[in-house]
């Protein structure tokens, strides 16, 4: 049961990573690319972490959650800064 959950969640996360990467490569401008990337950061990584939780002891699980939270924090800030600098420079 736990294994099945892991497989499903990690696979879903991997699909999001793939989609996000495609978006990064194919989208036309910086803002839409950022849009694609943030999905990978939030949901993709979140699903992978969530899926792995049942396989881990509580200490390792806490570490995984901490990783996810830190990525959330830095991802949000960096995306903001990038988006602002794009708008500031008037690039499309």
């Amino acid at each position: 049961m736990a294994d099945l959950f892991t497989i499903l969640a990690v696979s879903a996360g991997a699909v999001l990573f793939l989609a996000g990467t495609l978006g990064l490569l194919r989208f036309p401008d910086t803002l839409t690319r950022l849009h694609a990337l943030t999905k990978v950061d939030n949901l993709g990584l979140g699903l992978v972490v969530l899926g792995l939780l049942p396989q881990l002891g509580w200490l390792a699980a806490a570490k995984m959650l901490a990783v996810w939270l830190l990525v959330q924090l830095s991802g949000a800030v960096v995306t903001q800064i990038l988006a602002r600098s794009v708008r500031g420079e008037g690039e499309s």
Binding site: L70, L73, S74, V77, Q80, I81, R84
Partner: protein, 312 residues
């Protein structure tokens, strides 16, 4: 089978990404690809069962080196257009030569002696005397601590080398880390929330380094990253290079290292040998001091030579 497949993909990606960073036209692109390459490389180090190296590669080889090169690429961006175009024949010749070099080195894999040599057993055999659990830390701080001591002197010299490039009238000013001209509210948020976490993490890495992968260098790099973040965001002022407190932080690690080295002359009678039973506590003291110095030196190396006192 699965693992071999992973290794093959990883090796190919290393070559592909590494090659891309060489042929990329735009310098900023090349540098950013190089950072990605560094992260792939730290994966390769894990696959080679060298977790300590992997952490160092991610922190220094990719992180700190990458940051330095991003700053450089940003400032010299205008140069790239003026690159002289070399003839096609020259490129082909260079490619042929490089291929021959690669093939030559690759073929050396087959001439190394069949029975691998290793110091793993002797390292482990005498490791308990020091109380350390991490054999790599044992090599760095017990068997070959002389190398490690000199490496710290090399870092001091790197700082002297960077500071040498200040203009005389700017000397005594603050290092010129100025990526953002105006306070940036979102960055401020990060610079206020992240450092406490990073600080705890850095202490953990240093502390744990005696027994599991980690250590002063990795911890120091995390600390340096926090300091740079705080400086870039403008939360704290960058200290003047002549500030006595800053100087003390720079030399604290090497000073403690040297002092413990000389202590060896007194207690067991040999330079850089530890007195009976005191090896581990002394090494921990040394690592704490080194973490501080490494963090400050790395931060200052990235910040660059001091600039004019008034230009903010």
């Amino acid at each position: 089978m699965m693992e071999t497949g992973f290794d093959v993909v990883l090796a190919l990606m290393l070559l592909g990404v590494g090659g891309w960073s060489i042929i990329a036209r735009n310098m900023m692109t090349a540098v950013i690809i190089f950072i990605a390459y560094g992260l792939l490389l730290s994966l390769a180090w894990v696959r080679l069962h060298a977790v300590d190296v992997s952490l160092t590669e991610a922190a220094i080889g990719s992180g700190a080196t990458g940051l330095l090169m991003v700053i450089a690429a940003h400032k010299v961006a205008g140069d790239s257009q003026r690159v002289v175009r070399l003839s096609r024949g020259f490129h082909v010749l260079a490619a042929v030569f490089a291929t021959l070099v690669a093939i030559g080195i690759a073929s050396l894999a087959f001439v190394l002696p069949g029975a691998p040599v290793s110091l793993a057993a002797p390292v482990l055999e005498r490791l308990p005397e020091s109380g350390l659990g991490n054999p790599v830390a044992g090599v760095l701080f017990v068997y070959r601590s002389f190398d490690t001591l000199l490496e710290k002197v090399v870092l001091l010299l790197a700082l002297i080398g960077v500071w040498a490039l200040a203009r005389d009238q700017d000397w005594g000013g603050v290092p010129g880390l100025r990526l953002f001209q105006h306070p940036h509210s979102v960055l401020m948020l990060l610079a206020r929330t992240l450092p406490p976490i990073g600080f705890v993490f850095a202490i953990y890495m240093t502390w744990a380094g005696a027994d599991v992968p980690g250590g002063a260098f990795q911890g120091g790099t995390v600390l340096a990253a926090m300091w740079i973040l705080v400086m870039v965001a403008g939360v704290r002022r960058v200290p003047r290079v002549s500030s006595p407190l800053l100087r003390l932080a720079i030399v604290a690690g090497p000073l403690v290292f040297l002092a413990i080295g000389f202590l060896g002359f007194v207690a067991p009678g040999v330079f850089l040998a530890y007195p009976d039973g005191l090896a581990k506590p002394l090494i921990v003291v040394m690592e704490v001091a080194l973490t501080l110095s490494i963090a400050v030196i790395l931060g200052l190396l990235i910040a660059g030579p001091p600039r004019a006192k008034d230009s903010a």
